[in-house]
């Protein structure tokens, strides 16, 4: 039986690329409406995890159920229930803001007045009104993130995956972006976000700390920091990174 309060559940989720194990035996349970942060140094397996949960990569082993859909069995169905923003700006720079949104609304199957209504709603939610006729390629980093989020929200997905959404975005825009994320979670959207910024990690209800493909700590920011032996999250993060590097050196 699937608990309706649980939106994401993974069991022994593993992904190998040749000899390299990118994600190893990951067990996670994320509740509906939760803002969950995935933290870890580069190459720790955050992006691979998110890609598996979105159906972009097939797991080598294990299972994952997202919004009631088995990712391995129905990688197509899952795509109707999630929104996804990659690290890299994934929209069309040679289309305007309005054209990008119209395209994604259409691709998510919205038609006629329903499409127009939903676009208007998202536009006002993210404050894109004055940018509609601007080419996406000419937007600043912060506005690109907003447009990316707008396109990923068109179909009102119950689960939202954000892979380093604020990389290269100025602090003011980052704060605005997080206000939006919190508002979405309050409306019941589950948000899974990867980040490098410690202040952002602090805004998550729970975080999972990853290292070399393992989930090594899970809980609130303080709990995680304590678990690794740092006085705060940033401290914990650095301890972890140094330990990884030492291990890498020992191997080679």
């Amino acid at each position: 039986m699937i608990d309706s309060a649980v939106t994401v559940e993974t069991r022994h989720l593993t992904r190998r690329f040749g000899q390299v194990v990118a994600v190893r035996d990951l067990n996670l349970t994320i509740a509906k409406g939760e803002v969950f942060g995935l933290l870890g140094p580069n190459g720790s397996g955050k992006t691979t995890t998110i890609r598996m949960l979105c159906g972009l990569l097939a797991p080598s082993e294990g299972t994952a159920v997202v919004a009631g859909v088995d990712v391995v069995q129905s990688p197509d169905l899952i795509k109707e229930r999630i929104g996804y923003m990659s690290q890299r700006f994934g929209l069309y720079e040679d289309l305007t803001v309005a054209e990008n949104m119209d395209f994604f609304a259409g691709i998510y199957g919205l038609e006629g007045p329903g499409r127009r209504g939903r676009i208007a709603e998202v536009v006002s939610f993210l404050g894109l009104n004055r940018r509609l006729n601007q080419l996406a390629g000419t937007l600043s980093g912060g506005w690109k993130q907003r447009l990316g989020l707008a396109s990923a929200l068109m179909h009102r997905p119950p689960v939202l995956f954000l892979d380093e959404p604020t990389a290269g975005v100025d602090p003011a825009a980052r704060r605005g972006f997080w206000t939006t994320i919190t508002a979405l979670a309050e409306q019941g959207t589950t948000v899974i976000v990867t980040t490098h910024y410690m202040d952002e990690a602090g805004r998550c209800e729970r975080i999972g700390l990853m290292s070399q493909g393992h989930l090594i700590a899970l809980g609130t920011a303080d709990e995680v920091a304590k678990h690794v032996g740092g006085k705060d999250l940033e401290d914990a993060f650095i301890i972890l990174q140094e330990r990884d590097e030492a291990e890498q050196d020992a191997k080679s």
């Binding site: 990569l57 109707e80 990659s86 890299r88 994934g90 929209l91 040679d94 289309l95 994604f104 691709i107």
Partner: protein, 369 residues
């Protein structure tokens, strides 16, 4: 297929906004047509020729004039010795030499076989062939005139009456221009779509696209659809210019031609799409497309007759959609034939289009592995 519409619209806007590519796609037919139409003439004329006339008689001058009158030879110099003649040809200043010996008029008057030597630079087979057959023609005409004068008869014992049908003037433009429609479509259609998917991959937009519920078929068809219009515009350009600049006839049913062209364009686009699923970068896509263009020009029968090729190359040629489309183009434009004569080509092209789309859809994966 409800997501085909948005995909098509998006591709159309992007195509319209990419002014450079759009400009190249409209300029290519015009430039190619003018290049091929004016520069490439397979009927070789005015071959630069040197004359060594050792006899210097009215008879020999008459013979030289007969050569010049065919239009195939253009006398560029008269030389004094055999060495000089060879030198002209060796330098490349002349491609043919006519050597008339001392005893030519004497032999002719006596009724023994008089010989004239024609030296041809055969390092260029196409023009030497033209020179050789023209020379043989001149000699034959003179022979006939002399023989019939001797026999006091103007009746020939046998005459082959040749009727060059469909292209009575034997104009190479009539052969080249229809073929050019097919070649231009192949080059541009394969190239633009070969870029289609890798471009999205390189720009990072493919990841965002495949995380949506769009199906592979919707994606593929939406990608190629706007270019079908481009292809038909290109074809129209070449046909109109061909008609008014090169006087190429448009004998058959135009509607039939466009219907078959539509299938051919889709097949070419699908081929490009297939290339797009094989390569990782736009540069590779470009290289593979160019690699593909050459056999199309050489083996399809666009310039060189397929009947003259070894069987293996005829088979390879038969695997190219262009080969079959060329038959359709020449059949409809020059011969005015229709479905009864062309149904085989139509079935083959339809087969190519279907199989290539199916293959591309199969190859394309909606994952990042």
């Amino acid at each position: 297929m409800k997501r085909f519409g948005p995909m098509f619209r998006k591709e159309f806007i992007q195509m319209r906004r990419d002014r450079l590519t759009l400009g190249i796609m409209t300029a290519i037919p015009v430039i190619q047509l003018l290049l091929f139409g004016f520069a490439i003439q397979t009927d070789v004329r005015h071959i630069p020729t040197v004359v060594l006339d050792e006899s210097r008689t009215p008879t020999s001058r008459e013979l030289v004039a007969a050569f010049e009158n065919t239009g195939n030879f253009r006398i560029v110099a008269n030389v004094d010795g055999r060495d000089a003649l060879d030198e002209w040809i060796a330098r490349g200043d002349a491609q043919a030499g006519i050597a008339i010996p001392h005893d030519f008029p004497r032999d002719l008057a006596r009724g023994t076989t008089a010989t004239v030597q024609i030296v041809v630079d055969a390092s260029d087979p196409l023009s030497s062939q033209a020179a050789l057959s023209a020379a043989a023609g001149v000699a034959q005409m003179r022979d006939l005139a002399i023989l019939s004068a001797a026999a006091h008869s103007t009746e020939l014992p046998l005459e082959a009456r040749v009727r060059p049908r469909y292209n009575p003037g034997l104009r190479s433009a009539n052969y080249i221009v229809p073929g050019l429609v097919g070649v231009i479509l192949t080059i541009t259609m394969v190239l633009v779509t070969a870029m289609a998917i890798v471009r999205e991959r390189e720009r990072g937009t493919l990841e965002q696209l495949i995380v949506t519920p769009i199906t592979k078929t919707e994606l593929m068809l939406g990608k190629i659809a706007p270019y079908v219009g481009v292809g038909l515009v290109q074809m129209t350009t070449v046909l109109i210019l061909g008609r008014f600049v090169f006087d190429v006839p448009l004998t058959g049913n135009v509607l039939l031609l466009y219907s078959i062209a539509l299938v051919f364009v889709v097949a070419s686009l699908a081929l490009g799409l297939f290339v797009s699923t094989l390569v990782r970068t736009q540069q590779q896509a470009m290289q593979v497309s160019f690699f593909f263009v050459l056999p199309n020009i050489l083996l399809s029968g666009f310039m060189f007759p397929r009947q003259a090729m070894p069987a293996v190359f005829q088979w390879i040629g038969a695997l190219l959609p262009l080969t079959h489309f060329l038959k359709v183009l020449r059949g409809i434009l020059l011969k005015g034939v229709g479905v009864p004569e062309l149904w085989r080509e139509m079935v083959i092209l339809l087969f190519f289009a279907t199989v290539l789309i199916a293959l591309s859809v199969r190859r394309f994966q909606k994952t990042l592995d």
